[in-house]
Amino acid sequence: MILEKIQAEENFTEADIEQALENITLMGSCCTRIGGIKICIYDDKTEILAWQCNMADVQDFDVKLPTIISIEINKDNKIEKINLYKKFKGSQGIACTGKYLNRRMRQILLGEVFTPNNPVIKDSLILFCRHIYELVYGSCTFLEYCKKKEMTKGLVQEITQAFSTETGLECVDRIIVNGKESITKIDINNLIRNVKYNKQGKIVHAENIEIIGYEWILDGQWKEIRSLQVLEANSNSEYVMKLMKIISAYWIKSGKNIEIKEKFYFSQIWGPTFYGILSQAIGLVMFNKNYAYFQHCIYGIQHTDDGRPLCIGVVDNISEAEKYFEGFTVDDLY
């Protein structure tokens, strides 16, 4: 298990993470995300390594998108160095290139103050990639957490797995923050035939979706976190916000389990991040792992209602990439 392996090796490097991510599998789930952040604070600088790997069982093939970012913060708390690892594969169309995204990330972030209150760090759209944003913002909020705790080293690791069930999904999350662990589970039932997608790949109607969450307690049992919640929605925005609001209760409980009293943004079950994982899993369950439908669902979550792409991976063609994503040129593909 990657979590134990990494936990035991305090001095692991980017190459070790890369190797570990290459070896992981879906382990029976339809969708899995593994993530982590390692922080080392020195007198004159801070080094951060952040990684995430999304996996999905698409058309009975394991599809994997690993993302690793290294960051160096100087003594003025500004980003001195930042790099996206060379083997970034992209997740969707050909415009989703590491070359462009790394350049964009450096252009926007180098020299920026590394604090969660910095609007540039908070902006979920400015880097043109949701995965990169989650790693940067997650690292920033985790660094702040470590500093508050007066720690010079920090490590968070997490695995979130969605399993297909007869009527929906079972999503299990395991997070370890500086040695403290929380395991939670969210069951989403009555999913099949109760959600409706539109032509843009967005869920626009949901009825009688039953959501209930549990925590894993010491004597080896699941304990209900709160009573069953029923999700009903008649538009995409209503669906998105209600779903996130319901699942946020389990995220907050998970934080409490690892002695984090406030909201924390370096977890994969934080609403906006978990929403992405759930959307992929729901798409896989609803359309029998069909590749085209899966991509269509991703297309839906990464577009505004008026059709503007929110990440470079979902553009229809190169012209659209050049239109919406500043500085992108066809040369970035070669």
Partner: protein
């Protein structure tokens, strides 16, 4: 805790990267190009800042600066 409109508007608009004038003119945040994930994130921060809990059923109704302000002010006042 009292909710000061100017401070509230600056917080919300600063988070969205828009001017207060723009936000006041728009009927909804969506009109300003905000997506559901961004709106949800800001609401989460407001909950933390003002120590309130937004009800799930209300979340889609508080979709403009004014409606959000009135809602939070009523919650804080309770």
């Amino acid at each position: 805790m009292k909710v000061d409109y100017k401070e509230f508007a600056e917080f919300v608009c600063g988070r969205y990267g828009i001017s207060i004038e723009e936000a006041e003119k728009a009927d909804t945040f969506m009109e300003l190009g905000m997506d559901s994930l961004s709106i949800y994130s800001v609401i989460g921060e407001i909950e933390e800042r003002y120590e309130v809990v937004v009800d799930t059923d209300d979340i889609t109704d508080i979709n403009s600066l004014n409606r959000l302000y009135q809602y939070i002010r009523n919650k804080v006042g309770k």
